[in-house]
Symmetry: D2
Subunit: 341 residues, 4 copies
């Protein structure tokens, strides 16, 4: 069986697991107050070029999004995102559960455009009934988006400019950040990200950790008493050092970049394989998620031997299919898949 | 100044106020446990033909919607409504504040169509990731809708059939119910409403009361410990008999119908006045809200002397404008407005 | 039947009702943006000596408490109050429903003492696990308390000093404020209250209005976008001018004080009546609530003719009973009650 | 340094880690739909003697409590627990964050007694104002409690009887369950627990896992759509099989019992050591947490070499100190500690 279902089908990258195992019988204070969390935070802030930043480690993406958004909003505010945004669709109402509306902006490619954001905000405040409505309180982006697309530094800066104009914190979900950073078609690196986003997170779960996401905050004042809020959201890992150990491994000896490199190389090879076999792309993604339009009979033929996701129907005879690569994708697996096409 | 801004610009219908004043110095037990609330509930259930129903009186529409929806949903569920639904737009996130997503269905005329509801539900459950999403838990309609449109009995029954199929309670917001019941173009009466909706409310605020809405519930089991939930939502009026007294007046000697009658007569006269003066309607509303397309210069001309609402722009030269009638609208005011056109 | 059950058994003081009725057929813009609300706010701020304050009118006490507390707290914070505090006991969990813990301090007389407040806060921060606990975020007092007791200016200032030290807004529930202000045993007047509390409310429901409470805020920055939050809590009255009209009446020609005066005179006469007949007080209340210890046979004897509340048992043979006076209590009713003892 | 701070200072029991590592490069479907979760659930249900039960795996205790409680309560209900209950004190308001009050019962030994529970419920419903208060909706116990105390089967059955009488689900927090089951002074085994509790959880984090708790539910109907609620609470681990793998190890070859055995043996040796050195116990705990009263100079002397928790002051010269053992506590460490006394 070849696995392209998603980027979290296996355990940890061996180097990450190694770091965990080597430390297994050491004793640590709990809840992230250990040396490994400190060290990992330092390594991350250093790569981000943030002297005064703060890092918080949580176990998973949904809890990370829910906790950050709960921290940044006041009760009368909602969070603005693309209509395909993970928080709008696939987090089972976690944002609403903490009392906040998710205010969506229509988007074809998974991105919020500066233009549509500005239009939405202008339109909101030009409606005299706005005080009866949920007030936009922050902006949520994903980089890469749910469709594998990427923002350019210029696009992020435009959005950030609008955010500043309306006093909206800008938060970026980086569940798959590494697969954006490693793309050949991006000018966004960690320093750019850290310079633009008020808060963002570096995904570990989809980047070779067993679990874990690292929230990076430019200015700790944005997240006051955040430890307590993490605890309240049930997102405070008792053995917090497990998160520190994994991110320490990720940010040592270039492992994080290497993981991204492999995934992108494999994804690009896969894309070329599809194109050279005459298939069309649903979107032209420069990252580790590839969305391809396949005739239904090809889908049926691949299914017994290849893991992938059905993204949706495309008329009666074709299906949009998603293939995902990660740190563990092997060249021979990609070749084998291409050979089946 | 002529007032067509909305149906709640004045105090109470004189007969309602009279009932309040006559009782002013009587002593009553609080919180709705008085004889006037009992009597009003009886009168309402009788008109609804509900032998086993229950009535609860609350002060306003937003708190009524929020409390009923909170009672009917479980934490993992959301409420389905039209994208123009009052709860989706103009209640400042009251539904989200109690933890629930508002799941919207696109609609041109303010109505949820049975077809779009069925499609949405089928599409939801055909997506294999549905357990990661907010689960539809009830359906919310308004009758009349925000655009003054009305459901037919057949349409309501179709929707109710889908609701039963998916075990979704059907709740109908009747803030302007009387202006639907009194319309010449409806087959929905209170008995039909009560026979189809699991819970609905009869608006008082917009129908000649100072304030007050009467929730009608076919089966009290649907709203267990509802008194306590009303209290928790801050929606339990201490001097609850004030609500009973007002609805008692409304449902005595045909006052409720008379109020509807006047508003519809005035609205229809207004509509004819617009049409006969060559103006187009934005929607052809059979109820007390009339949406007309007016040239901008007409809008400017009317503004100093007439109260109405700007609904939106229509190109560069025209504006969509809303005129609303109610129990207090006088024939001479409508004539005066028409004369100005 | 003599009525001493509570201070909200009748409609409105005739002068309040008169103001409502006289205006009944005038047209007003909704939601509190009318001239009567403006005028009433001015009158109140003037009496409070607050040049830069803000007033907001809501319908009832529970929604007022819930909305103010929701505005003042962040998600990780709770509200500190006496264990008998209304929000801790009798608001059906409205505070928790907006996500916040009510942190109680033991109290015999319904008051939070500065000493117990300081001890609680010191003890909280001296526990090294405090970041795992709900963080005290504001202090809630009632004046008068649930037991009719009153704070002195000195006591309030001590509490306020501790609040400032810990950056906790001080909020005072004044559902029965007038019956504190009118007491012969107080040095707290509206100016003192307004000078000490960050936010407080002047109860109307229990002071001769049909309904209505006036939130007074020293500094509008404390309650940003509060209009929207009021709407979200379902606490925004559509016909908001009804609140303005009532408070206008209350703060014209000394009506507010006169209402307090009558209630206190009647309560003191009642207290003397109990004492001179040899009954003991449960607490010695200087306000309109009198708590008396009565032999069970007296309780049984009074019950058919007198309305009062059973507060609790006191051993096997006695019961603690509450008698309440208000603006409508007549001298002859008090005399009649005393005659029955 | 000797470590007795708590039972989660180290990574995983070697056998648990081994199981994780051996599987590291296998591919699995996410979110708990894998074979290891199925197998672990089977092993657990088998030990519990539950043919129709359900098992859910979550990462940590606070999220487990918050999610189960959110599932079992309706909005107007609260959860009853001891005043020292973890949810009442040390979960940062997670229960309140989902809208529910924690209703506490005073307790000296960390246990809720059947007698105090019955009294509380009787007193609640005998107060005529109860519909204005948060309605008790479920009972929360910990076994062992925060103070290391244990319920007997008879005590649990008494409590469960009261719960049934009032239709309250009984939920038991088993963060340290193994250290109760392994105690020499208990008649509660997994089958008894499963036969009495409606829902309980088997703690993994404190029993040799890296993280993980297994919710056991007698009847899946009690937790409808629980998968979605887990997701909403941010408690759904993407690589869910990591939880299955760990519990599989725990419930294979008697590892779970062995872990309990070691901790109890070490705790009892420690207790004897304290007693034989003339120290008094704060409570006489039969489980892995030992609460001892030590002179302050002994506390100061031990501190540089031994990890333990300060539980509180005991007068001016003594301190209550907690020592905790677990699967990793070695006999020589206990001997070394005793030697220092």
């Amino acid at each position: 069986m070849l696995h392209f279902e998603c980027d979290y089908t296996k355990g940890a990258h061996p180097a990450v697991l190694e770091n965990l195992c080597a430390d297994n019988l050491s004793s640590h204070p709990g809840y992230g107050s250990d040396v490994h969390c400190s060290r990992a935070a330092e390594l991350i802030l250093d790569e981000c070029g943030l002297a005064d930043g703060r890092v918080f480690f949580l176990s998973g993406g949904t809890q990370t999004n829910a906790t950050v958004i709960d921290a940044l909003l006041r009760p009368w505010q909602g969070v603005v995102c693309a209509d395909s945004g993970h928080i709008a669709v696939h987090e089972a109402g976690a944002v609403e559960a903490s009392g906040h509306k998710v205010i969506t902006i229509a988007s074809d490619d998974g991105k919020v455009s500066a233009c549509s954001l500005r239009k939405m905000l202008e339109s909101f405040y030009s409606d005299s009934t706005w005080p009866h409505m949920v007030i936009p309180g922050m902006v949520f982006l994903s980089h890469p988006t749910e469709l594998g697309s990427l923002y350019s530094v210029r696009e992020l800066k435009e959005i950030s400019g609008i955010c500043r104009q309306y006093s909206l914190p800008l938060y970026i979900d980086g569940a798959r950040l590494i697969y954006g950073l490693a793309s050949d078609e991006t000018d966004v690196d960690l320093k750019a990200m850290a310079g633009i986003a008020d808060v963002f997170y570096i995904g570990g779960t989809k980047a070779g950790c067993l679990f874990g996401e690292a929230i990076v905050c430019r200015n700790a004042d944005l997240l006051p008493e955040f430890f307590t809020l993490i605890k309240q959201h049930g997102a405070l890992l008792a053995k917090g050092w497990l998160l520190g150990l994994q991110f320490e491994a990720l940010f040592t000896d270039g492992l994080y970049r290497a993981i991204g490199r492999n995934a992108i190389d494999m994804a690009m090879k896969l894309k070329e394989g599809f194109l050279s076999n005459g298939y069309r792309l649903h979107v032209d993604s420069p990252t580790n998620q590839q969305f391809v339009i396949l005739p239904n009979e090809v889908v049926d033929r691949l299914m017994p031997d290849v893991g992938f996701s059905i993204w949706g129907e495309r008329g009666e005879r074709e299906t949009i299919v998603r293939f995902v690569t990660d740190w563990s994708t092997r060249d021979e697996d990609v070749s084998a898949l291409i050979a089946m096409l």
